[in-house]
């Protein structure tokens, strides 16, 4: 078996070839126009575009569509590849949502490790004042890289959970568009490659937000960064489209919207944001890209009328911020809503009680999604936009606290008086609630204009943001990994190691986030490589050291978890079909889930979360009668 049996190897080869072809094409066109043959930026840009196409052609994700254009029928192949070992399906194009879900999750964890490593590098640099081993440009590239890689990782993690779980939770055979589903995953690979490659062509040193004018003048790395984000964005759009159609058209008989497992509601709200808002980050980055490539001055303030009025005909960098944050603020709800859905999903299982206020939780997700579209301006309080815009954006932002509060009180109501089982997934859910509370309570401080002014662009923002991301995504994601690990592999992880992971990571994270907020209040600004050791009455260095040590502890915890999974995926104790005694449809079928998940269509006969109530069924299949 050669290496190129694996789709991903063919894809990467295709990506290299595409890059070379794109560069040669650029040179050819330039020679035809009578210009100098080689120009680095156009060559890399066109090369990068071609490299994405090259990857998709190489991996074989476009094969079926190319056949459609010729009118050739393409029956969907079920099961592992016939002439290759079964495990190769995870490295090639496969249309089964369970395989794609695992692909998403594993690729997401890989990126999480890359992004974490980058963070460890610059955290080590920050442990002491003065520059130890990182240059200024590299430091700047690294902080941006940490941000963007983590965003990719989170989007992949969200995609993994949604792809694996949604069809199982609603008893569907697969996603509505299996081919689009595979394409959605494979966009991520060339996207990540381009993002990492950008470090080698100058990097991009204005942070992950890529504000012009800096990004319009920075190194070539920006073009690769933009295209990498483009690829991930396309993945988001097609993935969310697929999930929405699946949720709207493939639910079984009797499963009204308010009888779906609550995670599906979270995915529904998330997908609505992803489908629409993602276009805006693409548009804003495309505009910077063409400004660099073709001189189209969207964000270039130099006017064209010169003496008459220097502003007429001039671009405006603030417009970029509007377009950019119209995606990038709702994006944080893309990151946290699925995580909060996981919390709501797991709490009733481990409390053995009905979910408190199901409808309120479901609708609060929708409310957060909708209000999330109206609050982008709170990132721009000091941008110099029209003063009167600040007040509505401030109030709209504070409004987000209401649906979020609804979720918190519903969670408390669910735990209240329950028979709580403290297994590892439940511990992570409780950790998520505690951490998200820290992030949530520091939110209004930053949403309020007068308190945002002194804290803007400080490490306080970094602390707040990491608390929302860990509480909203990382902790629930880890809970989900522990919780569904038995479903995916059929094996049980090591409970002791899981608990050790939790008890290392949670206090470490509290130290990290509160430490970051602390140094922020002392006057530490975000995105600078060095700081004044006399800040905070000379205390700042010890605080920074504490944050760094906490960061390493978190990294150790994550390694422990991965080792735990790696050890037990093949040889762990058999988990049984339903180790958590869950009512959700995916636990009523064997572990690991067979190729065709459900032997017969589901029938929904009750409410999803009636834990502890006698004779309250949720789903039945025709073959098993009742359960």
């Amino acid at each position: 078996m050669s290496l190129f049996t694996l789709g991903i190897a063919r894809g990467l080869l295709g990506q290299v070839l595409g890059m070379v072809i794109g560069m040669l094409l650029t040179c050819a066109v330039r020679i035809l126009l009578g210009w100098e043959a080689w120009a680095a930026e156009p060559a890399w840009t066109v090369g990068a575009v071609c490299s994405i196409i090259g990857f998709l052609l190489g991996v074989g994700s476009l094969d079926d569509w190319l056949k459609w254009t010729k009118g050739i029928p393409t029956p969907l192949h079920h099961g592992p590849p016939v002439d290759k070992p079964a495990w190769t399906r995870y490295f090639s194009v496969d249309y089964n949502h369970k395989v794609i879900g695992v692909q998403y999750t594993v690729w997401g964890i890989l990126l999480l490790m890359v992004g974490g490593t980058v963070a460890m590098i610059f955290r080590t640099e920050l442990a002491r004042s003065g520059l130890q081993f990182l240059g200024l440009d590299l430091y700047n590239s690294f902080i941006g890289m940490h941000g963007m890689i983590m965003i990719f990782a989170i989007l992949l993690g969200v995609g993994g959970m949604a792809n694996y779980l949604v069809p199982l939770m609603i008893g569907a055979e697969d996603m509505a568009f299996p081919r689009l589903n595979a394409l959605g995953f494979w966009f991520n690979v060339p996207g990540s490659v381009l993002l990492l490659l950008s470090l080698f062509v100058g990097g991009w040193d204005a942070g992950w937000t890529a504000y012009p004018p800096l990004s319009a003048r920075g190194p070539i790395g920006y073009q690769l960064f933009f295209l990498g984000v483009f690829a991930i964005g396309l993945s988001s759009i097609v993935g969310s489209l697929n999930l929405l159609v699946t949720l709207l058209r493939m639910r079984p008989e009797g499963m009204s919207l308010f009888r779906m497992p609550i995670f599906c509601w979270a995915v529904f709200a998330t997908s609505l944001i992803q489908l629409t808002a993602t276009q805006l980050i693409g548009t804003s980055f495309l505009m910077v890209s063409v400004q660099r490539a073709l001189g189209m001055g969207f964000f270039d303030p130099r006017g064209i009328l010169g003496e008459v009025s220097p502003m007429v005909g001039g671009g405006d960098p603030v417009l970029f911020q509007h377009l950019f944050w119209f995606y990038s603020h709702p994006a944080v709800y893309i990151f946290v809503l699925p995580g909060l859905g996981i919390v709501s999903e797991l709490l009733p299982v481990f409390s053995r009680k009905p979910l408190f206020g199901y409808k309120w939780i479901a609708l609060s997700s929708m409310a957060i999604a909708i209000v999330g579209f109206l609050v982008w301006g709170h990132h721009m309080f000091v941008s110099g936009y029209n003063d009167i815009l600040r007040i509505p954006f401030m109030y709209a932002t504070l409004l987000v606290a209401i649906p979020t509060g609804v979720k918190f009180f519903s969670w408390l109501g669910t735990i209240w008086g329950g028979k709580v089982h403290f297994d590892t997934p439940m511990l992570f859910v409780l950790g998520a609630i505690s951490v998200f509370l820290i992030g949530g309570l520091t939110g209004p401080i930053l949403a309020t204009v007068p308190t945002d002014f002194p804290l803007h662009d400080s490490y306080f923002v970094v602390g707040h943001f990491h608390a929302t991301m860990f509480g909203g995504f990382v902790f629930p994601f880890f809970a989900a990994l522990y919780y569904w690990f038995p479903k995916v592999t059929g094996r049980m992880y090591n409970e002791t190691l899981g608990k050790i992971h939790f008890f290392i990571m949670t206090p470490a994270f509290w130290v990290q986030t509160l430490g970051q907020m602390g140094v922020g209040v002392m006057g530490m600004r975000r995105r600078i490589a060095d700081y004044d050791p006399t800040l905070g009455a000379g205390q700042i260095e010890s605080w920074q050291l504490a944050v760094t040590i906490a960061g390493f502890a978190i990294a150790f915890g994550v390694m422990l978890m991965l080792w735990n999974f790696f050890q037990n995926a093949e040889v762990g104790a058999a988990a049984g079909d339903n180790p958590w005694r869950s009512r959700s449809p995916e636990w009523q079928i064997p572990s690991p889930v067979p190729e065709h998940s459900f032997p017969a269509p589901l029938h929904v006969v009750g409410e999803p979360y009636d834990y502890g109530l006698a004779d309250a069924g949720y789903v039945t299949t025709a073959s098993t009668g009742d359960d």
Binding site: W68, T69, A176, L234, I237, Q279, T283, G295, F298, V308
Partner: protein, 224 residues
């Protein structure tokens, strides 16, 4: 974001489709799949709408005169009107093609498709040669992409729209070629419908772009 490559391509009219529920008849599965495809297509439109809305917002944000009034550059009004009429006419023929295949009138269907593709190409030529002045030997354009925000927005909006027109023409020609080979029928023609609503969507975008670029605001002289 240019997601033009993502539409669900034309489906083979006669071939057996993926059976999600083996017990159902072929046509029922086809209809259910078509309903899913249609919803997917409309969600794709909703997504793309945000791209075009962002461009419209950019236009009204950036095209401001010295006193903040809405302005526009002097463009060839005749060219604008002609390409708009051409695109509108193409939309009519696309509709005619769809109605024809639904009634199993293949010749009419194929002719209408070809006319649509021709008119779409004419629109592209009109924009690229006439408005952009890509070939200064034939027509000299009014603006260059580098003419401040006026050049940037005109070329940004018409360029993004032209990309969609181009992909639409390719799609139409593909459907025409498949139709000539005997694909699609009155009962099964999701491929044609997808192509048709995509083409109408491209027309719909132009319905809003045309007044935004050519009609709204007072004209301002753009020095080169």
């Amino acid at each position: 974001m240019t997601a033009t490559a993502i539409e669900h391509g034309p489906e083979h009219g006669h071939a057996a489709d993926d059976h999600h529920h083996a017990g159902e008849s072929g046509l029922a599965t086809y209809l259910e799949n078509t309903r899913r495809n249609r919803l997917g297509m409309w969600l794709f439109f909703a997504s793309e709408a945000f791209l075009f809305l962002a461009l419209l917002v950019t236009r009204f944000y950036l095209w401001r005169g010295p006193h903040g009034e809405v302005v526009r550059p002097e463009l060839d009004q005749f060219a604008g009107l002609v390409v708009t009429a051409v695109l509108l006419l193409s939309s009519y023929f696309m509709n005619r093609a769809e109605v024809s295949i639904a009634n199993d009138k293949r010749t009419d269907f194929l002719t209408s498709l070809l006319i649509t593709a021709f008119l779409g190409t004419a629109f592209l030529v009109g924009v690229v040669v006439w408005e952009w002045g890509m070939f200064p030997g034939i027509v000299k354009g009014h603006l260059k992409p580098t003419d401040g925000v006026f050049g940037a927005v005109v070329f940004g909006m018409t360029g993004m729209h032209a990309l969609h027109v181009l992909s639409g023409v390719i799609l139409i020609l593909n459907v025409w070629w498949l139709g000539r080979k005997g694909h699609f029928s009155g009962e099964r023609h999701w491929g044609v419908e997808a192509c048709a609503i995509y083409w109408h969507y491209v027309d719909l975008v132009w319905i809003f772009f045309y007044p935004a670029i050519y009609l709204i605001g007072t004209t301002i002289d753009v020095p080169h």
